[in-house]
């Protein structure tokens, strides 16, 4: 009886944990797969993107020029409507005393008719009829206006002199978390600050353009019509590309507009979640569920066979086969159900933590929809039927005499049980290997010499609302005598990925004496090299004493010089010949990795400018307490900028953030593998108890025949050890192969150390033996007289 309670507890506990993890993983996968699925016309909705094939190689961007929308609408009859969606940086919204940074989407008046964002107050079709009309999300409206009616109120957007006034015309339901289009407020394209310039500029790409095709038209047909469309609107760019790439014949291969159905937008584009990761999460969930179900089936079956005698008796008493079946199935059903409910409860408790940790937007309610319900019921029936029904059927077909004599216990259902156990340990070992190696690779990337100081450099995103040059000048002024600040500079783009999540990269290609060079163009300011502690190899750093330094002076990296093929680069001019000036190289620095450290260092050209926007301010600090300096800088920043949002981070954090996806995946895999091995051991724990019970008599006989405690422990341990070894033999080559493929993605990568597998093997074996030892040792020291007395 006590044994049965222990078994039930193990069943339920294991199932609950597995179900909760599984639910979290599947909901996460579902969250990503369900992106943008709420638009009712989704088969007709497409996002356009540009595909260019220049000297630097192919490039894809979903950033489009403003005039494209109108052109698409008029030139292609199948296009019912085309709409600009411009998602910018957060802007400053103010009303009376209230003041906050929010994302304003600029779009066309039919926005609320094309997309499904329910309008709560006001009328969707007329909400954006005025050029200065604005619709607010529910949360934003609440935040600004509280409980008073926002309709008709006048809202101020911008700071200082650049302020525009808008009239609130509607309140919209907050956009769902699984929406690619995210906004706090929606206004007209015409209200963009530089609309007049952009309106007819096919060369500035800053907005998404969505099209809605008419109901019965084929997307392929529309795509075909986009070829002449490109010829018509991009003549200059095509000519340029043709000159760049004489090897490419078809103009559609040089520049094309592609359509992405709105369902796939989330998985395509520059900063998208790869679908593979979603499938990885799903397989992880499936693995965990599989392990738990194997446990369940194994334990339940073993338990049922143990009770064969009792059931045999029942059969003589006239219990029908059906009744026997129902009894065993019913028990399995009940255990499973309780486990599932506990798992569901646990999952709903964990969801907030999970969302906070992994930045998801999952909700338990997503579970209660037909597909999920069908899957859950299916798994439920399958597992309980195998776990409860299989032994029942098997018992029902055994000869009655056999059951009564207890013959069944001698024919142990070993093959199925062992293969389930082997699969569990193989999956667990596989997951452990994967997370271990992924962890090694990430650690390795962290240690890759990056070529510049990253620990003591703070990067502050200036933000859309501020003038970076002014702030940089004021900061220099304020902090010039601060002993904790070594130097200050400004840049056009961040290094790594900062708290503003923005990565801007501009690559420029040119010819230099028959050599094709393509390089990252980096806008910087004075003291850039000093701030990042990059040494000068040849020539000099930028210097305010030379007036031309802000016009055409360049500091370039070694690989840049190598690509030029110029032995003596200092003072040489490159590119821009048509301007008559060209760019002059004043200094050469060692290579460094401006973007992802997992890639090879790319040639870099650094230049100054008097007018281009400074988007980031870098400060090199010198202190034992960088956190304190950070706080000090924050205070200075707030004073200088009139309380603009301070989103500073250290450069090494930015570089870390580059691997956010990998770090999250590795964390998830580590947790999952810990749970997998835990569940497997839970199964092994109960299984070893079962096996030992079946072998009690044998152990007794062997002891009477002279076997020592060590002999017995060894004998049973070896039985399980063999199974674990088989699973390792399955898992290790798989893990090795999979991880070889994975690390191929990284330019800087570890070589997989076979000792890792030895380590994993040892860990798994030790854990398994430890688990088994609880029961083996107890069984081995039992006095054989007691185990043989049963007659």
């Amino acid at each position: 009886m006590r044994r049965n309670k222990l078994h039930s507890a193990i069943h339920i506990f294991g199932l609950a944990i597995a179900f909760s993890i599984c639910i979290l993983l599947f909901l996460t996968a579902y969250f990503h797969l369900s992106f943008d699925s709420f638009h009712k016309d989704k088969p007709q909705l497409f996002r356009t993107s540009r595909h260019t094939n220049s000297a630097q190689g192919p490039e894809m961007s979903s950033q489009m020029p403003l005039p494209a929308a109108a052109a698409l609408r008029t030139d292609i009859p199948e296009v019912e409507t085309a709409i600009v969606v411009n998602m910018g940086m957060p802007e400053n919204l103010s009303y009376e005393e209230k003041n906050m940074e929010r994302v304003v989407v600029r779009t066309d008046p039919d926005f609320f008719e094309v997309f499904n964002f329910p309008v709560l107050i006001g009328n969707g079709s007329t909400a954006l009829s005025g050029l200065q009309d604005i619709a607010l999300s529910e949360t934003t409206a609440k935040a600004i206006f509280g409980n008073s009616d926002p309709i008709g109120k006048e809202l101020k957007i911008g700071r200082g002199e650049d302020v525009e006034y808008y009239t609130v015309t509607a309140v919209v339901k907050d956009c769902p978390k699984n929406s690619s289009i995210r906004f706090d407020a929606v206004a007209r394209t015409e209200s963009l600050p530089n609309y007049a310039q952009l309106q007819n500029d096919w060369g500035s790409n800053g907005s998404s353009v969505f099209i809605k095709i008419s109901k019965n038209s084929e997307p392929q047909k529309v795509a075909m019509k986009l070829e002449p469309f490109v010829e018509k609107y991009y003549p200059d760019q095509l000519a340029q590309l043709r000159a760049d790439r004489p090897d490419v014949k078809e103009s559609s291969e040089l520049l094309s507009l592609d359509l992405t159905n709105i369902n796939d937008v989330h998985f395509s584009g520059e900063r998208s979640a790869p679908k593979v990761l979603v499938y990885a999460l799903m397989s992880l969930g499936a693995f965990i569920l599989l392990i738990a179900c194997f446990n369940f089936i194994n334990l339940n079956m073993a338990n049922s066979f143990k009770r064969s005698r009792e059931l045999g008796v029942r059969k003589t008493l006239g219990a029908y086969k059906g009744q026997l079946f129902m009894q065993l199935w019913g028990e399995a059903f009940l255990l499973y159900f309780v486990g599932f409910m506990l798992g569901l409860g646990l999952a709903s408790q964990l969801i907030p933590v999970f969302n906070a940790q992994f930045g998801g937007g999952i909700e338990i309610s997503a579970l209660f929809q037909p597909t999920f319900l069908a899957i859950m019921t299916g798994v439920f029936l399958l597992v309980t039927l195998i776990a409860g029904g299989y032994p029942a059927l098997k018992l029902a077909n055994f000869s009655l005499v056999g059951v009564l004599k207890g013959k069944i216990s001698t024919k142990r259902p070993g093959a199925l049980r062992n293969s389930l156990l082997v699969s569990q340990f193989a999956i667990s070992s596989l997951l452990i290997c994967i997370s271990w190696i992924a962890g090694q690779q990430l650690d390795f990337l962290r240690e890759v010499p990056i070529g510049f100081e990253k620990e003591q450099v703070i990067s502050i995103p200036v933000g859309y609302q501020q003038d970076g040059r002014k702030i940089l000048a004021r900061m220099r002024n304020q902090l010039v005598n601060d002993p904790n600040i070594v130097s200050i500079t400004g840049t056009g783009g961040n290094l790594g990925r900062g708290l503003d999540r923005v990565t801007v990269r501009s690559v420029v290609g040119f010819d230099y004496k028959q050599n094709q060079v393509s390089a990252d163009w980096l806008l910087a300011d004075y003291d850039f090299l000093r701030t990042l502690q990059i040494p000068i190899l040849k020539g000099r750093d930028f210097d305010p004493a030379y007036a031309t330094d802000t016009i055409n002076a360049f500091v370039v990296t070694e690989s840049f010089v190598k690509a030029m093929g110029e032995p003596d680069p200092i003072g040489k001019y490159f590119g821009g010949e048509e301007a008559g000036l060209g760019n002059r190289i004043i200094g050469v620095i060692p290579d460094f990795n401006a973007y992802s450290p997992s890639e090879k260092a790319y040639p870099i050209a650094i230049h100054l400018s008097a007018s281009e926007r400074i988007n980031y301010i870098f400060l090199k600090v010198k202190s034992d307490n960088p956190q304190m300096v950070m706080e000090h800088i924050a205070a200075v920043w707030e004073k200088l900028t009139d309380n603009a949002f301070f989103k500073a981070s250290f450069l090494d954090e930015n570089l870390q953030a580059w691997y956010e996806g990998e770090i999250i995946m590795t964390t998830v895999f580590s947790i999952a593998s810990a749970i997998a091995i835990f569940l497997s051991c839970l199964g092994l724990f109960a299984m070893s108890l079962m096996v030992i019970e079946l072998r009690t008599k044998e152990i007794g006989i062997r002891k009477v025949m002279g076997a020592s405690v060590n002999c017995i422990v060894g004998m049973i341990s070896i039985h399980f050890l063999k199974l674990v070894l088989v699973s390792l033999l399955i898992a290790i080559p798989l893990a090795w192969y999979a991880m070889e493929i994975w690390i191929e993605n990284y330019e800087n990568r570890i070589s997989i150390d076979p000792l890792t597998f030895l380590g994993v093997g040892t860990v798994v074996i030790v854990v398994a033996l430890f688990t088994v030892s609880f029961h083996t040792i107890k069984a081995a020291i039992v006095n054989p007289v007691d185990s043989l007395r049963t007659e």
């Binding site: 001698t410 008599k697 044998e698 007794g700 009477v704 025949m705 002279g706």
Partner: protein
């Protein structure tokens, strides 16, 4: 003298009460004796046999086996002693179902750390001696009860013990099979093996040279 029990008591505590399983047992066994232990069910026969076989401990008294004071010996030493000198035969044979006859015979030798070649020859000799060469590759389930007990006796004797302890060896056999086993014991005893058997059958008891009667753990 092979073994001697002096004032041996064995008890268990049940509900705060001492329940005696063996009470003041005095017994001396000489080498070459054939003793039958009799008594009603629950009188302590098996317990006595287990104490003699060193499988079970006792709470009071002395036990000397071949002049070794068993009651003071360390577990390991005691195990070596019974491994070397004592063989067991059980009512329900206690053969391992998963092993063949040959493997069942070999098993005790493994735990006595007998070398492989010696094991082979001992097993072959024993199979020969008990006339079961033809059955060596069969599993216990493929044998009749009498044949299984024959294997059980063969297993007990394979490492030439001085003492064989048999707890109702014929209890599961029909009378003809039982008789054969008793004849076998008789023959072994003639070859010098000391035998202590538990039996309910007066007839089987007569094979022995001496009868011990137990009642409620006490010798009468």
């Amino acid at each position: 003298m092979l073994l001697q029990l002096k004032n041996v008591f064995k008890w268990v505590n049940s509900g705060g009460q001492r329940v005696f399983l063996l009470k003041d047992i005095n017994l001396t066994v000489e080498e070459g004796e054939f003793i039958s232990v009799m008594g009603p069910s629950g009188s302590g026969k098996s317990t006595l046999l287990n104490v003699i076989g060193m499988l079970d401990s006792f709470d009071e008294g002395e036990y000397r086996f071949l002049d070794e004071p068993v009651h003071t010996l360390k577990e390991k030493h005691r195990a070596n002693l019974y491994k070397q000198y004592i063989g067991f035969v059980f009512q329900s044979y206690h053969l391992l179902d998963d092993l063949t006859v040959q493997e069942n015979l070999e098993m005790p030798l493994l735990y006595k750390k007998v070398g492989s070649s010696e094991r082979k020859s001992l097993v072959a000799d024993t199979l020969d001696r008990f006339n079961i060469v033809g059955k060596k590759d069969l599993f216990p389930a493929q044998l009749s009860g009498g044949q299984q007990q024959l294997v059980g006796v063969a297993r007990a004797l394979i490492s030439s013990p001085k003492l064989v302890l048999a707890d109702e060896p014929t209890g599961n056999l029909n009378s003809k099979q039982g008789e054969e086993i008793m004849e076998l014991f008789k023959q072994l005893n003639n070859e010098g093996v000391t035998i202590i058997q538990v039996t309910h059958s007066e007839k089987n008891a007569t094979y022995g040279s001496r009868i011990i009667n137990l009642l409620d753990g006490r010798k009468i």
